[in-house]
């Protein structure tokens, strides 16, 4: 009895559950990456500001850059939760759930790795800012290069979710 109930329950809500796992991964992994990246950059920024408080503004911009991956993860998770019956919508089919799950993966994976890599670039950029403050634009550009892949991941995640809704 127990077993059949359990399977029945699982079957009925499987789509919602698996897609929620996807949302959790998107926020969790991309957020981890951003926290790590911003942490690295923040340490370097604090070091620089201790020497030269006037550079706080520019250092803050560089620290902020690895923070966007976490936001992208949040966006993807939110779009999923809005459609899978948790925040909005109704319980979804298993296939639809898998689509959401796989839709969440690009930003979860690329968010995690790119934010850390971007954080490291930002650390070097803050070093550059300390030595040659007039070149801070270049430091920001270098960090933005890394962000490209998080933006692409976000794009594919969002397209998968937006275009994949209601087809399964």
């Amino acid at each position: 009895m127990m077993e059949s109930n359990f399977i029945g329950f699982f079957g009925e809500y499987f789509g919602t559950i698996i897609s929620t796992l996807g949302a959790a991964l998107a926020v969790g992994l991309a957020g981890t990456g951003s926290a790590k990246g911003m942490g690295l950059a923040g340490q370097a920024a604090a070091g620089l500001v201790s020497e030269d408080p006037d550079k706080f503004g520019q250092a803050l911009v560089l620290q902020l850059l690895p923070g966007t991956q976490g936001i992208y993860g949040l966006l993807v998770a939110f779009m999923i939760l809005l459609n899978n019956g948790i925040v909005g919508g109704d319980a979804i089919s298993a296939a639809q759930g898998w689509v959401y799950f796989f839709g969440a993966l690009p930003i979860a994976i690329a968010g995690l790795t790119s934010a850390i890599a971007q954080g490291k670039t930002a650390v070097s950029g803050i070093g550059l800012l300390g030595k040659r403050p007039e070149e801070s634009g270049k430091a920001i550009t270098m960090a933005i290069m890394v962000e490209t892949y998080a933006v692409f991941a976000l794009l594919i995640s969002m397209l998968t979710i937006l275009l994949g809704t209601g087809k399964f």
Binding site: L64, T68, L74, L75, M79, K138, T141, M145, L159
Partner: protein, 635 residues
């Protein structure tokens, strides 16, 4: 850019340089002629630099205690050129202020080092706190020697052995444990002094320094602590008084700006050439300024020889871009990448148009656009920024308009649902992607076009055709091919023509037939570069989605909260904070991502760097906004 050369009598040198600094239109370049010695640095320069150092030192101290409020929006104080030149009249006050701050710094240091010493002494006496005889009783007397000291706890066993060994001729008192040592009092007969002290030292006994200390350790510690505290209060009072130093801040800042300009002018002496009685000056001017410069020069040095000339082929003049008021701020974006070579084409206008378009697409919200424009306007009005800050703020002001327009196109107002739109990016993602890629292709084509134009302008027509127009054919042909139908056929022919040109020409600089063929074929692989450049424009969609969806997140959360008075209050708080956050993070994102598309995808097609910005000898201020005399008279 034009070159200017001037030869005049030495007597006019000072006046001429002052005049040139006032008009701020000539960048001096070094005058190197083999039989002409350059002027040695004037002796006054070292004195000026020392003064500047003193002023800055005083300003550093003032800044530390300055409590006058100066927010982000507080503008720098205004100053006229005349007032700046009159700065020497302030030197009495400035000197007084500097003396005051220097004395303060010295006194503070003395106080600090006294406190530090006291702290050390307290630390040294701490182990003997329980020793209840006055310290002056220690030392040598007629028959005995007594001392205080510490022994490491590790050597307790050996210490006991020594105690036993000398039990007859010495008395040992164990005072107290302190960290990993214990304090002892030893009194011994003079006969064993040397031997016992030696053995004690061997096990790590450290004698306490008690000379010139009177009273019991506990009393001394108490007194020292009191003195330490009172010095602390004194330091606090001192620092409280130091806050008043800020009254002199403006005087010193004016002094600093004055000295900076004096030094800048004196430094130019190094670039002049001289003979016994005449000197020679070389420099760059903007071509339009020729008459004004000549007039100013003749006024300052009536008997001088002046010559203007076009820059030579092998010379590299500084770069000065000339654009109208709307485009000029966008030069800031180019300058962040690097100052272009003065011989390249000024692409500012085209760059600005695409910057405007792409930034707006990334933010794309009617309300956000209005917020950006009004916010930037407010900053410009209140802060009155100068330089790069002013340029960037103006760029945001202009791009706010684009944001509003694209917002209307995409139907975004705070991402509220149900606003009518021309294209709905979320429902119609494919159209949106095509739009982004379309803008990308256009952007790259324009970049290639500028490259071709620049090459043709220099008479290298074939280079333009082989390197730029060939790729333009491939790109346009590719687009046509994608459209299909009649365009498809034409497109295919164009693309093939482009490829044919590339195959035949891209190896032209290589040696040997094999090199040429390989070069041509290899160039076709650059297609991957172009494809990735074009796909890079997908980020416009990505950033646009980010703006929209973050706003949706906050709208939804606020929507869930709304209900009951408390709910509405929280809802409004979430909406306000959320949208402010969204505007902030996405303005930064849009700004840098748009800049990146310019730098990497656009500039790579034509940009020639390696220039240096035109920096004429002029009056510059660090702490003030320069106000033009005319403006003052008019108001």
């Amino acid at each position: 850019m034009k070159k200017v050369s001037l030869i005049a009598h030495k007597d006019n040198r000072k006046r001429l340089l002052r005049r040139l600094q006032d008009i701020g239109a000539v960048e001096l370049s070094s005058t190197k002629l083999d039989d002409l010695e350059t002027l040695e640095t004037p002796a006054g320069l070292a004195e000026l630099e020392k003064q500047l150092g003193d002023v800055r030192e005083a300003l550093d101290i003032i800044k530390k205690y300055d409590e006058s409020k100066s927010g982000f929006l507080t503008p720098k104080p205004a100053i006229t050129i005349d007032a700046l030149k009159n700065a020497p009249s302030l030197s009495m006050g400035a000197q007084k202020a500097m003396d005051k701050t220097r004395k303060f710094a010295e006194d503070m240091n003395a106080l600090k080092s006294r406190r530090h010493r006291l702290k050390n002494r307290i630390g040294q006496l701490e182990p003997y706190k329980k020793f209840d005889a006055p310290l002056e009783s220690l030392g040598e007397s007629a028959y005995t020697v007594s001392m205080l000291g510490t022994v490491p706890t590790d050597n307790t066993q050996r210490y006991r052995e020594i105690c036993e060994e000398f039990a007859e001729s010495a008395y040992f008192e164990h005072i107290e444990h302190h960290k990993d040592t214990f304090a002892v009092y030893v009194i011994m007969t003079r006969e064993v002094d040397e031997k016992l002290t030696g053995e004690l030292k061997y096990i790590g006994f450290a004698e306490a320094y008690t000379k010139e200390l009177y009273g019991t350790p506990a009393d001394l510690i108490f007194d020292f602590n009191n003195e330490f505290e009172s010095l602390g209060t004194e330091a606090d009072e001192y620092e409280e008084k130091a806050k008043k130093f800020a009254d002199d801040k403006l005087t010193l800042q004016t002094m600093e700006d004055y000295l900076i300009n004096e030094i800048a002018r004196e430094r130019t002496y190094e670039q002049l050439g001289q003979t016994g009685s005449a000197f020679m000056l070389n420099g760059w001017i903007v071509a339009d300024a020729q008459d004004a410069v000549q007039k100013a020069m003749l006024e300052a040095a009536p008997e001088s020889y002046i010559e203007f000339a076009e820059p030579g082929e092998d010379e590299m003049p500084p770069t000065a871009m000339k654009n109208n008021g709307v485009i000029t701020p966008f030069e800031g974006v180019t300058d962040m990448y690097g100052v272009p070579s003065s011989k390249s084409v000024d692409s500012s206008t085209l760059m600005a148009i695409f910057y405007f378009l792409i930034f707006g697409m990334m933010m794309a919200d009617v309300a956000y656009g209005i917020i950006l424009t009004l916010g930037a306007l407010l900053v410009l009005k209140l802060k009155k920024p100068t330089g790069m800050f002013r340029k960037i703020t103006t760029v945001i002001l202009i791009c706010g308009i684009s944001t509003t327009l694209w917002g209307a196109f995409f139907g975004n107002i705070f991402s509220i649902e149900g606003v009518p739109s021309v294209v709905n990016p979320i429902a119609d993602a494919m159209t949106m992607l095509i739009l982004c890629i379309g803008i990308g292709v256009l952007h790259i084509l324009v970049g290639l076009g500028i490259g071709a134009y620049a090459a043709i302008k220099r008479g290298r027509v074939w280079d333009a055709i082989f390197d730029k127009i060939s790729w333009m054919l491939v790109l346009i042909g590719g687009v046509g091919f994608a459209l299909g139908g009649i365009f498809g056929t034409i497109g295919m022919i164009m693309a093939l023509a482009g490829v044919a040109i590339l195959l035949c020409t891209q190896g032209r600089k290589k040696k040997g037939v094999v090199g040429k063929v390989v070069g041509g074929v290899a160039s076709i692989y650059d297609v991957t570069g172009y494809v990735s450049d074009i796909l890079s424009y997908c980020r416009i969609f990505g950033m646009g989605l980010a703006t929209t969806v973050i706003a949706m997140v906050f709208n939804t959360i606020a929507g869930l909260l709304m209900g009951g008075v408390v709910g509405y209050i929280f809802g409004i708080v979430v909406l306000t904070v959320g949208h402010v956050f969204n505007v902030g993070i996405n303005t930064l994102g849009s700004f840098v991502h748009t800049a990146r598309l310019q730098y990497i995808e656009f500039f790579s097609k034509f940009y020639e760097g390696g220039g240096h910005a035109f920096t004429p000898l002029s009056i510059r201020t660090k702490n003030h906004r320069l106000e033009k005399e005319e403006v003052k008279k008019a108001s």
